[in-house]
Symmetry: C2
Subunit: 216 residues, 2 copies
């Protein structure tokens, strides 16, 4: 089996990359620069691929910036603080982002003769991002079956898992979480205040470990 992993450089997709390395014959990673506020996640994605010896493509989608507008892409809106479940986190949504990334990852898979595209969607995002809901993933799986003559399988192994469960699995797989980035701000250390930071901290706490990014 030949597998393409959509790798953001966050902890969910990085854990998936480690998981695929265990089961697939060949693994290829693809990341997207869609004009994020900072590139720390992409730097982490690159570092993880170098560590694991995985081929890594970074696709420049910054051109879509002019089509969308929200706090992930522009620096004139303040990053919301608080828990992820808050209404204000909706401002971090890039419309249809998962479909865009999946469609390009599928094109890549077709081109290199890969069998599947693996996404890091998880249950914590269902309520906030419409393109993280199970019904979206199911519809995406169906379109991937007919977009080429050979079926491409789309998998989201953590679709029904939360971040705590993902880290639990990642600790078993010895994922190097020091090479992942979650904070919406691109400082040297995570800000510790934004919704992403708080969710990440809670997930590590639930596993009784300290986030390596917070160690000196």
């Amino acid at each position: 089996m030949k597998s393409v992993v959509v790798l953001s450089g966050g902890l969910d997709s990085t854990t998936i990359l480690y998981g695929e390395k265990r089961i697939a014959e060949e693994v290829f990673a693809i990341s997207f620069n869609y004009g994020q506020r900072h590139k720390k996640e992409l730097d982490m994605a690159k570092a993880t691929c170098e560590k694991l010896g995985v081929s890594h493509k970074i696709i420049d989608l910054s051109c879509i910036k002019e089509l969308v507008s929200n706090s992930c892409l522009t620096s004139d809106i303040e990053v919301p603080e608080g828990n992820y479940a808050d209404e204000n986190m909706k401002s971090t949504v890039v419309p249809n982002r998962n479909m865009i990334m999946a469609s390009i990852a599928i094109a890549y898979a077709i081109n290199i003769g890969a069998d599947e595209v693996v996404l890091g969607v998880h249950s914590g995002d269902h309520a906030i991002y419409p393109d993280c809901r199970p019904e979206f993933i199911e519809a995406l799986q169906k379109v991937a079956e007919v977009c080429d003559y050979k079926k491409i399988i789309v998998r989201a192994p953590f679709l029904y898992n939360d971040k705590g469960q993902i880290i639990e699995k990642g600790l078993e797989w010895v994922v190097d979480y020091s090479l992942t980035w979650t904070c919406y701000k691109g400082l040297d250390k995570p800000c510790g205040k934004c919704g992403s930071c708080r969710e990440r901290a809670e997930a590590f706490e639930n596993n009784g470990v300290i986030d390596p990014l917070l160690c000196d």
Copy 2:
């Protein structure tokens, strides 16, 4: 109704743009530069939008060039000549192109509050391009219904029409076909030999009219 038309600058999507102008309250066009061999189609798309007073975005996707390889994108493979139905026309396929373009058009539609995305897929492409088949369009329609909280409608009005029927409709709508480009080569005039040129010529002939691009 607010409508986003994926406009290549070829005759199918240009005809659709004229059709949407007749029925939608607001029409927005979106075109893609995916590193095509030449940009004549995009120039034509721009000219048509200027003529019709339609807002037009051109999205630069040339970054996907490194993921795919075929005669549309690279100039080191010779453009196949002959009829479209020929096996050799398969070398002009960009994998999963329609899903990539549709996903970005959907993102644009979500952002501007549009109701639908309209594609120029037609029956003549079913046999050659897997992502032009009715089963693909149906699957795409379903994913567009769940990728955001509001359903986006995907329409392909010419899905079961051939180029001759499209031109028949376009002549009724007074489409300016001198502002469309079909030839795979980017010369001053259509080459008249490639599969695209031959198919276009036949479609005009079937309507008893002369292609304005061939008039002096």
